[in-house]
């Protein structure tokens, strides 16, 4: 049986990654192994990359260089000082940043956005862990709730942290993201999972410091189908999950304008992220996880090519 994605293409092994089926699996560890192993078996090419410390080039010595890196053999031949430079170690940090604000606790198809984000994060972390990358995570709402520093041994801690996470408080992307830059001392792959209910310019300004540090960012915008389609029927008082504010809404008269606004919001995010070379992907909680995994793998591969 093949699962069909929204664009109609069949993906092998997609039956392993249907979010509704995944919701029945209690353990995140088992879930991640099931999804990732099933997904990788469907690929024609192994996504894992070897680590190497290969010689890259010589460079002239300048004041301030470490003299231990001077190539003395070359000095003997040329009577000049040169420094040996190497390809960087390819093992990298993988950090999952998961939004656990109250708005993430919304779901109409049996899976809330937070659960979907947790599945996605667990799968990516497992994939990174198999790659022998150091994995870590940060959960936040209006401030940083928990921080697991990246380490090769922290996969189980990460699973425990995101499994335990509860969406209970209001969210605010800007403040915690601004303070996160402190946590990234070396280049990392950062996966940001959120519903991005903020002004796109403000989001971008908050993310920029992370990106400037040389980190490779992938942003997953998790939305429920009802948030995209606004398929409500009856006139009701709509209550904001985070603020508790209520507004009377007649869905039929609101629907078209709402859809246009959310489309504009998504387009704006997509444009602004692409301007600063951050990968952006819309994740619909009704769709399987494999598209998100593909997006991550392509980004990881691109990072491998960077010296």
């Amino acid at each position: 049986m093949h699962q069909h994605t929204s664009d109609g293409t069949a993906i092998p092994g997609a039956r392993f990654v249907d979010p509704k089926i995944l919701a029945r699996i209690g353990s995140l560890d088992l879930l991640a192994r099931t999804v990732v192993d099933g997904f990788i078996n469907g690929l024609h090419r192994a996504p894992y990359f070897g680590a190497s410390i290969d010689f890259a080039e010589h460079r002239g010595y300048v004041s301030g260089d470490d003299i231990r890196r001077v190539d003395w053999r070359l000095y003997a031949r040329t009577d000049r000082y040169y420094i040996k430079q190497y390809e960087a170690d390819t093992n990298t940090n993988f950090c999952l940043i998961l939004d656990i604000s109250k708005s993430m606790n919304f779901g109409t198809r049996g899976v809330t956005k937070l659960e979907y984000g947790s599945y996605l994060g667990a799968c990516l972390a497992y994939l990174a862990s198999r790659q022998r990358d150091r994995v870590g995570c940060i959960t936040f709402d209006s401030e940083i709730v928990s921080y697991v520093p990246p380490s090769a041994k922290h996969f189980n801690v990460l699973l425990h942290t995101i499994d335990r996470a509860k969406a209970e408080r209001r969210g605010d992307l800007t403040k915690p993201l601004a303070s996160m830059a402190e946590h990234f001392k070396r280049r990392s792959i950062i996966v940001l999972i959120s519903d991005f209910y903020e002004d796109p310019s403000a989001i971008l300004e908050s993310i920029k410091p992370l990106h400037f540090l040389g980190n490779d960012l992938i942003a997953f915008h998790v939305l429920d189908p009802m948030e995209l389609d606004f398929g409500f029927e009856d006139a009701s008082s709509f209550e904001d999950l985070e603020s508790g504010e209520q507004i009377p809404v007649v869905p039929e008269s609101f629907r078209d304008e709402y859809r246009q606004l959310i489309r504009n919001h998504i387009e704006s995010l997509k444009t602004k992220f692409s301007e600063v070379r951050i990968d952006y992907m819309l994740a619909n909680t009704a769709e399987p996880l494999d598209r998100a995994l593909f997006s991550y793998l392509s980004s990881r591969e691109r990072l491998m090519r960077v010296r």
């Binding site: 919304f106 040389g214 904001d240 985070e242 209520q246 960077v306």
Partner: protein, 681 residues
């Protein structure tokens, strides 16, 4: 009481919102929980009714909370605290990194950069110290750490744009090492540059310690137009015993507008031709000039293209010389066919051209060896005329000797200084499939071109006979057969080189001449033995040339730089100016021909696209620069900094914000109670 950000007070108009809310009373309906009403709120809702204000206490609570929060955002402070704040801070150690690479010659970039450097000097207080570092490809301290602003200003005024390329790594490393030595409390680097993208690869190993600040000052012109001549190519034709050269120049337009560019060629200072070419935006075009005759050993030429704010890259200098064929003597045993493959293979080369003479061993005289780049003993006994040290003298003077060992080959005992090892008997490998080449030294020039996969299949060649060679202790084995026997061995004698190939180079001993690798192998062998080096028509600023290697003599030389300075030179010469360097024999070295070296600026300098200064600062310091850090403070701004410092210390906003939030929390409790007790909100 004053406000740091008084514009925020405009937000107090938001007080109308709670009043408006209290005027609108809505009937409670079925409640649907939704993640965010961010978009729903933007859609106007029509069916509302205005009623009288109810719940005055709730309204006052909401208005008060709003006013307190707005006031907090306006950042109030008391002016008395400003004076105290001015005293805080401490001594500063500043490193001013001033980019003087070729690209800074664009328009008014250099003047703007010097103005920015002067402004940085003016911002020094009496206890502060500053170091001026000029950098392009390398960095040097133009003025060591000093508090003397006059000396720093003089050093800035004396600085000039050079012709070298931009690299930020060495400059930042030098700044780091200067700041590390300092004991000042505040350590700052001011980087004044046009922030060319080519100067920063992202892989520079520069990371400042925590607490150091980098202030970027960009003098770049957005979307700068620039014309450049990045390179020229030559095609040669022989005509009446002389060579004619056709010059084709590439013209790059790095601007956003198409341009009609006048392009001219000058040879030896005389205009040859002027043409016009249309170059589209961000594209390149080429111009081919009429050909001219090479009537001198070295002909100097210049291509000039249009005019723009950066004239340095609109001029391209080159030198071109008549191509010199490599003279080769093939000595054979009298059987004309034995050198057929060899002479045919050498005859097809165009760069360089091999001038080949074939001569029987009996007719060889010592005079025949003179002025030969390479002598090939092709399966012949040792030439009697070359005995008694004649061949050794020839090799020691820099000649090349290739010995193809066959049945007829002999190595006399008297010539053992030249011959690479001892020649043994013929090994017959016709019984099996024949021998193949099992090991090649790919690090050697001869086999380097076969290093890449599928770039030369030596295993297809079958060798049926070869002569056993026992190499000497100092000889280098270049290739071996599959049974371990030596296939090629090299010995260096004086300034020359000798290579012995253990089999013949015709088809009597092997089928190697019929294989595709034969041609490149023979060419590589001869080029290596002749010590052939393709002449450079131009060099790039920053490169180093060895004058003695260039002139192939150990005489004393005088170098005249493009700016007219005369420098005696015997060793390496660093080319740091754009133009033509003349290398003339010094007095007492008459008889040597003068040389010329054309030098152009690095093509990377022509690309004026910029890197975001914030990105560079983030990579160096580990955190993104604070807003407004991209500008140097003047006196008014310094006062503004003091005000900010006072406001930061007083921190009234914090108390106001907390009180406002507490009022909002109380508002939540009150409104919840009211909403539970009533049907209406």
């Amino acid at each position: 009481m004053s406000f740091l950000a008084p514009l925020f007070l405009i937000a107090s108009a938001a007080i109308a919102v709670p009043i408006f809310v209290h005027l609108i009373q809505r009937e409670r309906k079925r409640v649907v929980q939704f993640p965010s009403l961010m978009f729903v709120q933007k859609i106007p809702y029509q069916s509302v009714r205005r009623r009288r204000i109810r719940h005055w206490s709730l309204l006052l609570l909401r208005c008060a909370a709003l006013l307190l929060i707005v006031t907090a955002f306006a950042r109030p402070f008391l002016k008395q605290g400003v004076v105290a704040a001015a005293a805080v801070g401490g001594t500063r150690e500043i490193v001013v990194l001033l980019d003087h690479s070729a690209s800074m010659g664009y328009g008014d970039h250099w003047q703007k950069a010097k103005d920015a450097a002067h402004q940085a000097v003016r911002s020094l207080s009496n206890n502060d110290k500053a170091t001026l570092v000029l950098f392009s490809r390398n960095a040097e301290e133009s003025m060591r750490a000093t508090s003397d602003r006059a000396r720093l200003d003089v050093a800035i005024d004396q600085a000039k744009v050079d012709a070298d390329s931009t690299r930020y790594g060495p400059a930042l490393k030098l700044a780091e090492s200067i700041l590390l030595r300092s004991t000042a409390r505040r350590r700052e680097t001011i980087l004044i540059s046009d922030f060319q993208r080519a100067g920063w690869t992202g892989s520079e190993d520069v990371r400042f310690p925590e607490g150091y600040t980098v202030t970027p000052v960009s003098v770049a012109t957005p979307n700068a137009d620039n014309l450049a001549v990045p390179q020229v190519t030559f095609s040669r034709q022989a005509f009446s015993g002389q060579e004619r050269v056709t010059v084709t120049a590439g013209i790059a337009n790095r601007g956003a507008t198409p341009q009609d560019v006048p392009v001219s060629l000058e040879v030896e200072g005389l205009p040859i031709q002027k043409q016009s070419v249309k170059v589209g935006p961000n594209t390149s075009a080429s111009v081919t000039f009429t050909q001219f005759t090479l009537d001198k050993p070295i002909v100097e030429g210049t291509v000039k293209a249009g005019s723009d704010p950066m004239p340095a890259d609109n001029t391209f200098h080159f030198t071109v010389s008549p191509s010199a064929p490599v003279s080769i003597l093939i000595v054979e045993g009298g059987d004309r066919d034995s050198s057929l493959y060899l002479s045919k293979a050498l005859g097809v080369s165009t760069s360089p051209v091999f001038q080949t003479d074939v001569m029987p061993v009996t007719r060889v005289t010592p005079a025949n060896l003179e002025k030969r780049a390479v002598v090939i003993l092709n399966d012949v006994a040792f030439p009697p005329a070359a005995a008694n040290g004649a061949l050794k003298t020839y090799v020691e003077r820099g000649g090349g000797l290739l010995i193809a060992a066959g049945d007829h080959t002999t190595w006399p005992q008297g010539e053992k200084d030249v011959m690479p090892g001892t020649l043994g008997p013929t090994v017959d490998r016709t019984q099996a499939r024949g021998a193949t080449l099992g090991y090649l030294d790919h690090s050697h020039f001869v086999f380097e071109i076969f290093k890449a996969p599928r770039s030369g299949d030596f295993s297809a060649a079958q060798i049926y006979h070869y002569r056993k060679i026992d190499p000497g202790a100092t000889d280098k084995v270049l290739a071996r057969f599959d049974d371990g026997g030596v296939a090629a061995v090299e010995r260096k004698v004086g300034g020359g080189r000798v290579i012995a190939w253990a089999s013949s180079l015709d088809d009597s001993y092997s089928d190697l001449p019929k294989k595709p690798v034969y041609l490149p192998l023979v060419h590589q062998l001869v080029k290596y033995l002749a010590q052939f080096e393709a002449p450079h028509a131009w060099q790039t600023v920053g490169q180093v040339v060895d004058v003695q290697s260039l002139t192939k003599s150990r005489a004393n030389w005088i170098v005249v730089t493009p700016s007219g300075k005369r420098v005696p030179q015997t060793g390496p010469l660093e080319l740091d100016e754009q133009g033509v360097y003349e290398v003339r024999p010094a007095s007492g070295s008459a008889g040597f021909a003068p040389q010329a070296i054309a030098v152009n600026i690095d093509p990377a300098e022509e690309d004026l696209s910029t890197i975001d200064p914030a990105e560079l600062v983030a990579a160096v310091t580990g955190h993104a620069p604070a807003a407004g850090a991209a500008a140097l403070p003047n006196a008014a701004e310094a006062e503004q900094i003091d005000i900010k410092e006072a406001e930061r210390k007083q921190s009234f906003w914090w108390y106001l914000l907390v009180t406002g939030l507490l009022l909002l929390a109380a508002e939540t409790v009150v409104s919840n109670r009211l909403s539970q007790s009533e049907k209406f909100l």
